[in-house]
């Protein structure tokens, strides 16, 4: 009983630690990757005792700076809501990772430990529910600032978020139709099968259009460029104009955590999660016949490493997209969401239905 509770605690701390660390690292990656892409050096001034360490102390420096800045609450605004809005933005992004499996079941010492914090029967819907809650942080921030432009920015940002949530929900349905289950652990397990004997049945292989739609909608949901009109530096002052110090830091950090969450969900649903191609529970079974037997712990380690690698790959991809594409105008964003992505995702569902039934009849 106590050991069970301890195992759950360790898993929760591991997942939260992983997400927070990767998000913190992403603040550094953002600066360094953009620097490399733009052929400059990037941030490299923060040092401890003279060691610069290619700028890796910058996230710590940023964190310290934000804590020690003045915590400002606009006097005409709502004090309680102004404080709660960063909490409402930060919290859903972090708890979305509860349902993402980072490995298959670990069998050690007679115990079976699934490498997932919670395994809901209605797994994927939990992600939708949590995504829906992330709108509140934005809306409350805009409202409680007693600033017309903040309110306008907040309303526009939340209109953008809710427009893309529909596409987000619809694109996952295609994958669900193929795998016939809502549980994320099952979806991950089923992606280990092989199509035609040698192609792993990953979500992106069976539903490429759905992946593109999902990825676009997820980038829009996490307000990254090209969809970051609400928080753009040169445009309308946004919903966090009246924030400073740690609260503003929490909004920015929530942004990076959402990036990690988007990467995690894309990995889990479309890219096989912890699956390594041709790796089964007892070792590698290559399609050309050779079999490499591996002990259980090695298999688990490979799976976790594969998950981490894929998540980091998606984070890198999101960063690259950020520094490659220019920002969309707001009416372009809304037009894309309602007039292009929504009909395309409905078409994807019907087409998938027809194809699956046709394959079943053959």
């Amino acid at each position: 009983m106590i050991v069970e509770a301890l195992i759950h605690l360790v898993k929760v701390l591991l997942v939260i630690g992983f997400v927070m660390n990767v998000a913190g690292l992403l603040t550094w990656v953002e600066r360094k990757q953009s620097a490399v892409m733009q052929d400059r050096i990037g941030a490299n001034r923060a040092d401890i005792f003279g060691f610069r360490l290619i700028g890796l102390f910058h996230p710590i420096a940023d964190g310290l700076k934000m804590i020690t800045k003045e915590d400002f609450i606009p006097p005409g605004g709502n004090r309680f809501l102004h404080t709660m809005a960063p909490f409402a933005a930060f919290f859903p992004a972090l708890i979305a990772f509860a349902i993402i499996p980072f490995g298959d079941v670990l069998r050690v010492g007679g115990r079976i430990i699934p490498l997932q914090v919670v395994d809901f029967n209605v797994g994927v819907l939990y992600l939708l529910a949590v995504g829906g809650m992330s709108v509140y942080g934005v809306v409350l921030a805009g409202w409680s600032s007693n600033n017309k432009y903040s309110l306008l920015g907040g309303l526009r940002a939340s209109a953008q978020l809710i427009s893309y949530e529909i596409t987000l929900g619809l694109s996952i349905i295609g994958v669900l139709m193929v795998f016939q289950t809502l549980q994320l652990s099952e979806i991950n397990r089923l992606q280990g099968e092989l199509l035609f004997g040698f192609i792993p049945k990953w979500g992106v292989v069976v539903q490429p259009l759905a992946f593109l739609l999902f990825f676009t909608a997820a980038v829009a949901e996490s307000r990254r460029i090209p969809f970051d009109q609400p928080e753009s530096e040169s445009e309308i002052i946004g919903y966090f104009t009246e924030y400073s110090g740690m609260k503003w830091g929490m909004f920015m950090f929530a942004d990076f955590i959402e990036t990690v969450t988007v990467a995690g969900v894309a990995t889990s649903v479309f890219f096989g999660g912890w699956q390594v191609p041709y790796l089964f529970a007892d070792g590698f079974h290559f399609p050309w016949g050779s079999i490499v037997a591996l002990p259980h712990l090695a298999v688990i380690l490979l799976q976790v490493a594969s998950f981490v690698f894929k998540v980091l790959f998606f984070c890198w991809l999101l960063m690259t997209i950020r520094w490659t594409l220019p920002r969309f105008r707001y009416d372009q964003v809304m037009r894309l969401g309602w007039k292009y992505l929504l009909p395309l995702s409905l078409f994807n569902i019907l087409a998938t239905g027809v194809v699956i039934l046709a394959l079943q009849a053959l």
Partner: protein, 167 residues
């Protein structure tokens, strides 16, 4: 254990619902309504209806309350605007109807509390799960399902007609 959880969640639901009505700031009322809806989702979970609970959160908390908040912010209802207007005999009517409602509830509870069409015996283990619900929804209750689509269609038309007066 289940009884403790039930009383706790119900207490939260009732407290939040009371605060929706009794406290003056409209935005806080909306937030307490969100709290009430989350507590109701918790009650659904305690009844082992997981799909309904999570769909309740997605639709009510994630969509309808966002609409409420938009409307509150669009109409700038910061303070309590309806505090001065009152219907004639408002207090008397309110108390009378409340007593009537309480009597009705007491009558229903005293008659056994069960619903007429409820099945007897224990429910199957996977009752609240998506597959079972889906199977029933798309075979036995197909007509209400299609009628829902017409209802949503009408709602969309109504929203546009109300919103675009000049267009």
């Amino acid at each position: 254990m289940a009884a403790v959880a039930f009383y706790l969640v119900s207490a939260v639901a009732i407290a939040c619902a009371a605060l929706v009505i009794f406290q003056p700031n409209v935005v806080y009322s909306a937030l307490f309504l969100i709290g009430t809806l989350l507590a109701l989702a918790g009650l659904f979970l305690l009844l082992n209806a997981q799909f309904i609970a999570i769909v309740h959160i997605i639709v009510y908390v994630g969509a309808i309350m966002v609409l409420f908040l938009f409307v509150i912010m669009l109409l700038d209802l910061g303070r309590d605007p309806a505090g001065t207007e009152q219907l004639p005999y408002q207090r008397g009517l309110g108390i009378g109807l409340g007593v009537l409602f309480l009597a009705e509830l007491a009558l229903m509870v005293s008659f056994g509390g069960g619903l007429a069409g409820a099945p007897e015996g224990p429910l199957p283990a996977a009752f609240g799960y998506t597959e079972v619900l889906g199977r029933m929804l798309f075979t036995t209750y197909l007509f209400p399902f299609e009628a829902t689509s017409i209802l949503l269609f009408v709602a969309a038309i109504g929203a546009v007609v109300l919103g675009k007066r000049r267009g």
